[in-house]
Amino acid sequence: MKPLLPLSRRELLKTAAASSLAGLAWPVSSQQAMAQSKTLSVFAPRPPDPAPPGAAKFSEAAFAEWQKANDSSVSYDLVPWPELHDKMATTFASGEHVWDVVYMSGWVPEFAKFLTPFSAKLSKELVDDLPKSSFATVTWGGETSGVVFTLSLLTLFHNTELLQKAGFKEAPKTWDELKAAAKETTRDGQFGWVLNYGEPAGIGGTASYWMCFLQQAGGKLYNDDATPAFNNDAGRAALQMMIDLMPYTDPGSISYVGINDATNVMTAGKAAMMMNWPFMWKPANDPAASKIVGKLAGALLPAGPAGTASIDGTDAWTITKTSKDPDLAIKLIEFYLDKEVQKRQAIDTGWLPIRLSILSDPEVQSALPNAAVVLEQAKHPYDSYVTPDYNEVTVAIGTEINKALAGKSNAKDALAEAESLVSAIVKKRS
């Protein structure tokens, strides 16, 4: 049988493969050429999740200038937020040096041994302008290995129109007021409360929401010897509060795994209140995405028996131990925390600054009215209780809470079971 082409198929494939391999060598060699000036590699989430200048659209000119002034080029490795942790874990486990600066959100204790403690080298001016407690979540084993760059605490977002229609002139200030407001605003396919209770793990998961209520009830997660301290009246009261809200909560909340699933219900005008991160302000006021433009307001989380309390989103910059130029990395982080850059971060992208001076800047406050609320919330406790086994602990607690909220368990049993699970986990902590 005569072949269709003068060349046999195999020869064709062979030449194609050979030339392609030659062509693919290109990117490798051009990367080598670029390695002349100092390079820093930064691992961060993709915008609109908190991203640095140059990755997100703010302070781009200042960023270019910084690179020139420091004779370095900064390359960004951006990944959707949900995939950050997986990629980080694989890279650290492999022992390869890939990044100099790494974004962390509650994972500093987990990866503490891979990071360089550098906060002692930050300029005094900067450290004085930061809330002291912001260093709590990036400190482990006595070493502070990161610096938070955005004040991200949970606060109460509410739909002023829906509340007013139900007879409430202001946001609820206490647990009882919250229950009453939720009850009155639940009718006709609209609910008083919505949240994502579907994902047990991490900061922003079911367990972490309960931790807000736990602190508001005067409780804490661990004793000084790291044993669980939450299976008591405070813990039960906190969980009971969430259970009591369930009749006025969007039933889908049990199944929402991401905060945006819940945010969308609120921006559609179908829920009156929710806890959310400061970033919510922007999408809620975007006319293409929101039906409640101008109707959203922020307030302190309602106070429990012990007052109001929240949790910290802990978006922080860290430096890897394998970085070849940690001093340059520190300079880069100081640039990210520069006054002007922080201001633009707030106004252009909606992520609040961490610098106290910029938080009280009138321009920032008028562009982001909820900045004042978050600043006020920061004066009250906000512990996220991060530990190296945070994922394991929150999965254990969050799953039990989810069961209680779904009516499959009650506050007493759920917390008792959670306590025994967490005790087992803590025992393995070295």
Partner: protein, 266 residues
């Protein structure tokens, strides 16, 4: 019968219709209950945003085309002769080899990702297309071998004898006689390998950074933690399906014939 066909079309197409519709809708319309399908909500903004350079969809498609194309070619280059050997030539431990080859594509990606990452990193191959082309062979090659082996096995046994009488060597027989009549299963195996490589996510996530991003990664970049613009993601998905649909449309009859012979005759 007509009812059954109508049901088939409905069930197959319904999610797609929603995918396409949403890609033209504003976020506001999608979160309304019921979804707001009034004319005012329709927009091209999603497609505009996705096609613009920030979204990097074009780069993703280019990378995916190159990666899927070359991994498929390599899989054919390596797999066709191997399949022929296992089907028609005298090989020891044939069954064991076949089992191992099938077993190769059973691994959850989490099992192989860390050692592969270490190896790729040491070779300087992280974030290159070459890396993914080679790594995807791990699940493409077994499938190609299995599909082609089945087909070669079912060819008439007299072919080699006739060729040998004419003085042809094994290699010549393979190249000039067997291959030319194997177009359907070759294309079938190639299509399977191409689509699986095109859609692969986890290994691409771990092994690439900014340069070698593939289409599934670009699509997933529209799902943030704090916000997901659903319409944009659907627009990206719609655009990225187009090359595959084109491919499968052009090859539909050959794929059909190829699979019949490849997997069934053992």
């Amino acid at each position: 019968m007509v009812l059954a066909l109508a049901l088939f079309v409905l069930l197959t197409m319904a999610p797609f219709v929603w995918l396409l519709l949403s890609s033209f809708l504003e976020q506001k319309a999608l979160i309304s209950t019921p979804p707001d399908l009034s004319l005012a909500s329709f927009t091209l903004a999603n497609y505009r945003e996705v096609i613009s350079s920030a979204a990097q969809l074009a780069k993703g498609i280019r990378n995916s085309l190159i990666i899927s194309g070359f991994t498929t070619c390599l899989a054919l280059l390596l797999g066709a002769p191997a399949a022929y050997a296992l089907a028609r030539l005298n090989v020891k431990n044939k069954d064991l080899l076949l089992l191992l080859i099938l077993a190769a594509q059973m691994f959850p990606a989490i099992v192989i990702v860390i050692p592969l990452f270490i190896a790729a990193s040491k070779l300087g191959l992280i974030d290159t297309r070459t890396n993914l082309i080679l790594v995807y062979l791990s699940f493409n090659l077994p499938v190609v071998i299995w599909v082609l082996r089945g087909f070669f096995y079912s060819l008439p046994s007299g072919l080699e004898r006739a060729a040998r009488i004419d003085g042809a060597t094994t290699i010549q027989t393979f190249r000039w006689i067997i291959l030319p009549i194997s177009l359907p299963p070759l294309f079938a195996a190639a299509s399977f390998a191409f689509i699986e490589a095109w859609n692969e996510f986890f290994l691409a996530l771990i092994m690439t950074r900014q340069n070698a991003q593939t289409v599934p990664l670009v699509i997933s970049s529209f799902a943030g933690q704090y916000q997901t613009i659903f319409g944009q993601m659907m627009a990206a998905a719609a655009i990225s399906i187009a090359p595959i649909m084109l491919l499968t449309f052009l090859l539909r009859t050959t794929i059909l014939r190829g699979f019949a012979d490849g997997l069934l005759k053992g």
